[in-house]
């Protein structure tokens, strides 16, 4: 996978799926382009309108806690975000993100400020904060998640291999 470049949109700790894809837009869950217009609206009102393709969501601890709604990572990806970086992720969100082909990266996001230009290299496991000239590294995904992400998500993985397999 090639390196990803873009602007950081900074969020705090404990951003819940209720803030990413609010329940009051429940009726839009089968209309994802419309739902995506409200992505993260309750955490940062300026995000959905101003984010550009290839930008990054950069958060603190426990990103995506709460509901299992996969619509949360789906609409983050849909507005063009190329990866979510956080100090930690809630379990279901983490799995869902990888399953739909959205990289979820665990690293020291305190080294990144809002608006910084960053470059993520998934293969090397590095994040370069070009604005502040800081380099961070992140641990590799567990094998099966790496394989799923490399295929672009779980559906493509199953279509290719026909089954779930633990490599190594």
């Amino acid at each position: 996978m090639t390196a990803l470049n873009g602007r950081a949109w900074k969020f705090g700790d404990n951003i819940s799926t209720d803030q990413i894809a609010p329940g009051r837009y429940f009726h839009l869950r089968s209309n994802l382009p419309e739902l995506a217009k409200h992505v993260l609206e309750d955490a940062r009102a300026d995000f959905a309108q101003n984010t550009k393709p290839r930008d990054f969501v950069v958060a603190g601890r426990n990103f995506g806690l709460g509901s299992s709604r996969e619509h949360a990572p789906v609409i983050i990806k849909m507005v063009g975000v190329s990866a979510v970086l956080a100090q930690s992720f809630a379990r279901i969100f983490y799995r869902n993100a990888i399953n739909i082909g959205l990289p979820a990266i665990i690293c020291d996001t305190a080294q990144i400020e809002d608006g910084d230009q960053i470059e993520v290299n998934l293969a090397l496991g590095t994040v370069l904060n070009a604005t502040r000239n800081r380099r961070l590294s992140f641990p590799p995904l567990p094998d099966i998640m790496r394989d799923i992400l490399e295929e672009g998500g779980l559906i493509r993985y199953i279509k290719k291999y026909g089954d779930l397999e633990i490599s190594g």
Binding site: P22, R24, R29, A90, L154, I155, E165
Partner: protein, 411 residues
């Protein structure tokens, strides 16, 4: 316990930290994730392997408030008929209540497209929430991949004081652990308090473990589990004991005899204080219901407090029974009449009020207290409202007084 159950389903002995493939006994979804799941199944081009082990529920926005919801529900209804899976129509109740009553068995692996799937851990099952894509694959292949979780032992001992309930134990535990204190881990409950709890109370406890990030919250099956299953004419009881030398990553002890009613303050479930330490908090709206605390046992406690009294002028009270059966029992024993006479609005069984999709939405700047599981910003449908969590008893006492109140004097 998790390792034992997962080992049985992986066909070999597994240990915490490993990634394995496990067979799945029950998969379920609902109108919140079902449409996306159906789309993913179609994309996958595969059929459902064991339709008898799959349930589609319509419970999240019922009766359908908008055309979009109605269309989503029709999609699920048609799909369920075409593929011969089990189906639960709008109005039957909340999936977690019905899974506990009609499907879950000790020792099973249960997956649901809902974070509160952990509720079925109260029957001694390994039950966990996943997203639509994971579930599409689990339904198609009859298996899933799991990272075998480390286990956190939580021992709760002693009798609960008058006015304190399993919800207070749950909130206390989440306060101790924090909102990610059990992330990726399985919680295993033990102790005399748990042994003395009825299934309705145990379901509340297992239900809430996900609020500390846990993957599962297991209560070993025992005589109470057997009674619960027998009462519903269900076979399949088995006792699975944890190994004497089971490895626990950590152990937490809670002395239930000291536990006061607990309140989670806005905007996070781990922001927990005993009721005596929060001062006077005026409340505009009260909601009692959800997969956490909408069972008949909860409604009876609420009716006991409200009986012969009127709710505070200026405070609203909305109550949602967790299932059709719950509602019918509440009609039969007079509970419903007591609730209505006190001034409560009662809505049809479902999830809508809890997560802000349908009904009971507070106004800007208002305070709402609920018996549910989450108080995140925007959860109740208005990001400008403030949500508190408590037991049904605290909610009922609060509805009478108009500020967050100890139910002790009414019990």
């Amino acid at each position: 316990m998790s390792e034992k159950i997962i080992s049985e389903h992986a066909g070999r002995q597994v240990t915490a930290g490993e990634t394995i493939i496990a067979k799945v006994d029950l998969c379920f979804t609902h109108d919140a994730s079902g449409p996306l799941l159906i789309q993913q199944l179609k994309e996958l081009g595969m059929k459902i392997l064991n339709p008898g082990n799959v349930v589609f529920f319509i419970d999240h926005a019922v009766p359908a408030p908008r055309r979009e919801n109605a269309n989503d529900q029709k999609l699920i209804r048609d799909f369920a008929r075409e593929f011969g899976v089990n189906f639960s129509e709008a109005g039957e109740g909340i999936c977690h209540q019905l899974v506990a009553e009609d499907y879950a068995l000790p020792g099973q692996i249960i997956l649901g497209t809902d974070s509160h799937t952990v509720t079925a851990g109260a029957l001694g099952a390994f039950a966990t929430g996943m997203g639509a894509t994971d579930m599409a694959v689990a339904m198609a292949l009859g298996k899933t991949w799991l990272r075998v979780p480390e286990t956190l032992s939580v021992r709760i001992s002693g009798g609960l004081r008058k006015g304190s309930f399993s919800k207070d134990v749950a909130l206390c535990l989440i306060g101790i652990l924090g909102s990610e204190g059990a992330n990726y881990k399985s919680i295993e409950f033990s102790g005399s308090t748990i042994e003395g709890m009825r299934m309705s109370e145990r379901l509340t406890l297992s239900n809430m473990v996900v609020e500390a990030g846990a993957k599962a919250g297991i209560i070993p099956a025992d005589g109470e589990t057997r009674r619960f299953l027998n009462e519903r004419g269900r076979d399949g009881f088995r006792q699975i004991d944890s190994d004497v030398n089971a490895h626990y990553e950590d152990m937490i002890d809670i002395d239930a005899t000291k536990l006061r009613p607990m309140i989670a303050l806005p905007d996070s479930v781990d922001n927990v204080r005993p009721i005596d330490e929060i001062g006077r908090v005026e409340i505009d709206s009260v909601f009692i219901g959800s997969c956490t605390n909408g069972r008949i046992e909860d409604l009876r406690i609420v009716a006991g407090i409200l009986s012969g009294r009127k709710i505070h002028r200026g405070t609203r009270l909305v109550i949602t029974p967790s299932s059709r059966r719950t509602l019918m029992e509440a009609i039969k024993d007079g509970t419903l009449q007591t609730l209505l006479l006190s001034g409560a609005s009662v809505t049809p069984p479902g999830c809508g009020v809890c997560f802000g999709a349908l009904g009971g939405v507070p106004a800007d700047g208002e305070n709402i207290i609920t018996s549910t599981n989450r108080n995140f910003k925007a959860r109740t449908g208005n990001p400008k409202a403030h949500t508190y969590l408590a037991s049904p008893a605290v909610c009922a006492a609060t509805a009478l007084k108009g500020f967050i109140s100890d139910p002790g004097e009414y019990i």
